[in-house]
Symmetry: C2
Subunit: 328 residues, 2 copies
């Protein structure tokens, strides 16, 4: 592997000159420039990224940390992140948090291998985030509440989203409304549930514990939760699934039991994932502004990096109901 030294030697200049030439610093004569570039090409030289990063203590890349690279994560969100990152001349890498504290993600955070990070991965503990964030290493979390000078939150207003979903069902004439929840430790789930509760309360409907069942945010979980509800032999008139994946699992369960949606029961999901519109019946759901979340998140990272005074630690975006055919 050729180093900058080799290039300098071949070009007959000092290393610093070679460095300047290679980095286009306006400080070197066109002739030298050319000599150096030719030498570099001849040796098939490429800078060693680490050495460079080490020296500048800056990587020019930001990380997007996802629980599972292969999961049905929000492609719109990634798009938002990606576009803004690129527009700012930074690089983006995605890394997975499978393995928790031992994961690649945790390592990148702790060892500060990037200039900033955006996290959407429950299994990265708050501790890791808190001890990694620092001046010059802003972290934005999309999935939790955290109080730290250099940790920023952007979230969608899930309380309002949960409220809206529930109220939508109520306005359609339903009074008995089930809730299939995500994992208990999920902040998103908690907020959606809060919204659900408030809507019930504001409309004078009594909350019934038997109609709350947990589905873990997975399709499989939604399926099982729905089967449980069905097994109770007393279904509510409508169900609010805390995410679309679970709702799709629920659809499957209803189908197997010949319960038809929305004739026999109405259901509403949350997220508006791509599949939602293709499922049968098409799923009425709550859309989150995913692209905006992603774009805003990176934007915040850059603002923090630039030490702009105007950065807030907390941002909130709102949701919107998308009506399809799963509610009567």
């Amino acid at each position: 592997m050729a180093t900058i030294k080799d290039v300098a030697k071949l070009a007959g200049v000092a290393v610093s000159t070679a460095s300047y030439a290679l980095n286009n610093v306006n400080k070197v004569s066109p002739a030298t420039m050319k000599k150096v570039q030719e030498a570099a090409r001849e040796l098939n030289y490429f800078k060693n990224g680490f050495a460079s990063d080490l020296k500048r203590t800056k990587t020019n890349t930001i990380a997007l940390i996802l629980r599972d690279l292969s999961g049905p994560f929000y492609s719109e969100l990634i798009k938002g992140v990606q576009e803004v990152t690129t527009a700012n001349g930074y690089d983006l890498i995605a890394c997975s948090s499978v393995g928790g504290a031992q994961s690649t993600a945790a390592k990148f955070l702790k060892e500060k291998r990037v200039d900033g990070a955006i996290i959407l991965a429950h299994n990265i503990t708050n501790d890791i985030v808190l001890e990694s964030a620092r001046e010059g290493f802003p972290i934005v979390v999309l999935d939790r509440k955290l109080d730290h000078e250099f940790v920023y939150q952007v979230e969608v207003d899930n309380i309002h989203g949960g409220y809206a979903a529930t109220e939508y069902l109520i306005n359609k004439g339903h009074r008995e409304i089930g809730y299939v929840s995500g994992p208990m430790n999920s902040h998103d789930n908690e907020m959606r549930f809060d919204g659900y509760m408030s809507a019930l309360k504001d409309h004078g409907i009594q909350y019934q514990n038997k109609w709350k069942v947990s589905g873990d945010f997975t399709r499989e979980g939604g399926y099982r939760a729905t089967k449980m509800l069905i097994a109770q032999r007393q279904l509510p008139e409508a169900i609010f699934y805390a995410n679309d994946e679970m709702a799709i699992g629920g659809l499957q369960a209803f189908k197997e039991n010949k319960i038809s949606v929305p004739e026999d029961i109405s259901i509403i999901g949350y997220d508006d994932i791509q599949l939602a519109e293709y499922v049968s019946p098409p799923l009425t759901t709550v859309r989150q502004p995913k692209y905006e979340v992603g774009a805003l998140a990176v934007h915040v990272v850059f603002q923090a990096l630039a030490k702009e005074d105007s950065v807030e630690n907390y941002y909130n975006l709102s949701t919107e109901i998308v009506e399809r055919k799963s509610v009567k």
Copy 2:
């Protein structure tokens, strides 16, 4: 930011001792070990990843390069890559190649910021791959043919897949079979088309140029291509879409024109993406062993890294037809 020096000082030992202690080298007394670890904790010390990588000239991470992080890329493939990578104690990062030669991906390749890479991204030119690969930096390509000592190929037998898809249609009694192609520069597309042609030929069917139309591997492209075919006012009996995304776009076009699938026309896709089974009618398609491709790809990287003699430069996996309801 605390460095190893600070830790050593606080623990009252030399830097080297601190390094040994921190890296669990069996060379330091338990007492010293403890002192150092405590000092590290107290200072909230974490090693600087770059310095470490620079010194060892090894990153312990491999990169998966995808054309578009947000695209509907194969989650099964990623899963295969991820699991095997993790099982080998390596880290995995995904990076996007949007931007081509200026992309993050190209940078990681050229600057050798990882120990190995797996590429599924047409817009990374062969040149970049060829000049980046070298001893100690194996690259496996999933989407092209390339001849280089340290470039490995794993591909699925797309020729056979294309053949099988076409033959399936023929066996169902269709003689007029259209082909909606991916981009011309796609090796995958080319192979599928070759398979299509051979099947036609082997069954004594004349290839008709008017039934080949390009769809760019996107849903939108498939939609437009199908509209074009419809506009020709003379539809084939069946269409082979070179991927599922395009087939789904086609489904949409047919629906809008009240042409029903499979009654009026049969269609078959390729890939077996997740959506395929949810679309209406469920799409008959050719499944690729995606998980296996991913797993094998990383496996090859590790073999190459270990300089095993048994590594081949070329691997081939086979496909399978999954019958659903879009072919009559």
